[in-house]
């Protein structure tokens, strides 16, 4: 029997990891990820999880230790957030280049300065180029389910690419909800032990992680890029199998919500999706044609899906808990690039907010929809707006 328990997002991830039976966990605690690694440490200590738990002295060591363990064929897990994630950066590239399918939970949190422990997406979005698959979840249940799926996707022989499961700091990590915990034998059937040829062993010794000259480097990078595209097929298949085994279907690269006859839609990432969902229902009840496009994967990027949705609508707003200083939000940049390739003439607007943990309210979301429904921008040519600034900025 699947058990329903009342837990936080952090604890949900810990249960997802336990059920996935990793061989090695190496992590360094950081708010708001701490509870996850504390629970995992408890589970190892009391014998619920038979794994090697390495209490490392830093995040840099955490990623290096998991990568090393992966290189001898172990299933590995680490977790971090914000400054800790950034401290891992060197290892993140190393890990994806070496094709070591480490799975990581990242509790999305703003990056200093100003120092803040609260959430936004500036940590992981600044690392889109490091070669990791990135998925963003909407609630604790999806966090648990995607942790299990992440091992299956990352370890697939056509993928062999590390994967980051992102959940919003505090909004998801520290709030409690009823979460269904899958049965161990069903998870075992869904996720068999990790097997790979890409490892060091005595029977078949290998030269691991060697350098490559200009003659070969491009080919290795080409291959890495192809592996990321292979992940698209694998993650769709994995979602399907997961839905068959556990009855929860999250869609593929994106989830469309009430987009079919919509005039205006908002594109979201992570927990704000839930709030937008509620606003869509409210405005739909009032006869307004609005919808929601939840991006689940930022890498590989859902280019085809975004183009397909854009063809149905007149205006697209993108909510970014991110700003790439001197330009715009990174989700917007990626969405826009997809639209440009399709020569889309849809109205586009980037809403920047929710930074450093500021709430994004239903009222603000409704205002965004209302602007998009007018079919033109509030201020001509202003595609990027910081919403809910608390002070005047006009001259």
């Amino acid at each position: 029997m699947e058990q329903n328990i009342f837990i936080s997002g952090d604890e949900a991830v810990a249960h997802g990891v336990r059920l996935s039976r990793p061989n090695v966990i190496a992590a360094y605690p950081i708010t708001p990820q701490t509870i996850t690694v504390e629970r995992l440490s408890d589970m190892v200590e009391c014998g619920d999880l038979k794994a090697e738990y390495m209490h490392v002295e830093s995040e840099h060591s955490a990623i290096c230790a998991t990568m090393g363990a992966s290189a001898v064929g172990a299933r590995t897990f680490t977790a971090s957030s914000s400054q800790g994630l950034l401290y891992m950066t060197e290892g993140l590239h190393y890990c994806s280049g070496g094709r070591y399918p480490v799975v990581m939970m990242n509790a999305n949190r703003s990056v200093a300065l100003p120092w803040s422990i609260y959430g936004d997406h500036r940590d992981s979005l600044s690392l889109l180029d490091c070669g990791w698959i990135q998925v963003y979840v909407e609630d604790a249940q999806e966090a648990l389910d995607m942790t299990i799926q992440a091992f299956k996707i990352a370890e697939h022989k056509d993928v062999l690419t590390p994967m980051m499961v992102n959940l919003d700091g505090f909004i998801l990590t520290h709030t409690y909800e009823m979460v269904s915990i899958p049965e161990q034998d069903k998870v075992d059937a869904f996720l068999p032990p990790f097997q790979t040829e890409n490892k060091m062993c005595f029977e078949n010794p290998k030269n691991m992680a060697f350098s490559s000259q200009p003659d070969d480097n491009t080919e290795f990078k080409y291959q890495q890029n192809e592996a990321m595209f292979n992940a698209v097929k694998v993650l769709k298949q994995t979602n399907k199998e997961f839905a068959q085994s556990f009855g929860r279907d999250y869609g593929d690269m994106v989830e469309e919500y009430r987009c079919d006859d919509a005039d205006a839609i908002l594109v979201t990432l992570g927990s704000v999706t839930g709030t937008v969902r509620v606003v869509v229902d409210k405005m739909r009840a009032e006869g307004k044609k609005v919808g929601l496009l939840k991006i689940r994967y930022m890498r590989p990027f859902p280019e085809k899906e975004i183009i397909a949705t854009a063809k149905k609508v007149k205006a697209i707003g993108v909510i970014d808990k991110d700003i790439s200083f001197g330009y715009e939000g990174t989700v917007f940049t990626n969405v826009n690039s997809a639209l440009a390739k399709a020569n889309s003439t849809v109205l586009k607007k980037n809403y920047i907010g929710g930074l450093g943990g500021r709430d994004i309210t239903k009222n603000e979301i409704e205002n965004m929809f209302n602007e998009l429904l007018t079919g033109k921008l509030k201020k001509d040519g202003e595609h990027v707006e910081f919403f809910n600034l608390k002070v005047a900025i006009d001259e």
Binding site: R99, N198, N204, N207, A209, D216, F220, Q223
Partner: protein, 99 residues
């Protein structure tokens, strides 16, 4: 001293022939002396007293006993010159590589 057997490396023709990531069966040498040796050590066996100091100091382990003489594995020697510098009899000269 046993030297590992070196296997021929065949340059891949198709992307599918590439190893998954930069890891490959041990024993292949894809790039002789890493492609950057400019000078090579040459031993004067008349002057050499077979003290094996060069063997100890070689950072790449390329010096070996070839019977009762010093041998150098030029596939792996990078030409750093530590052996020549440390030789008590100045029996090793560093000779410029001809391109």
């Amino acid at each position: 001293m046993n030297k590992p057997q070196k296997k021929d490396f065949i340059k891949p023709k198709h992307i599918n022939d590439y190893p998954v990531g930069p890891q490959f069966e041990a024993g292949h040498l894809a790039d002789i002396n890493a492609g950057w040796r400019t000078v090579r050590p040459v031993v004067d066996h008349e002057a050499c007293i077979f003290c094996l100091r060069c063997y100890i100091v070689c950072p790449d382990g390329t010096i070996f006993k070839d019977g009762d003489k010093i041998g150098i594995d030029y596939d792996y020697c990078k030409g750093c010159g530590v052996c020549a510098h440390e030789c008590p009899k100045d029996a090793i000269s560093m000779i410029k590589e001809e391109l």
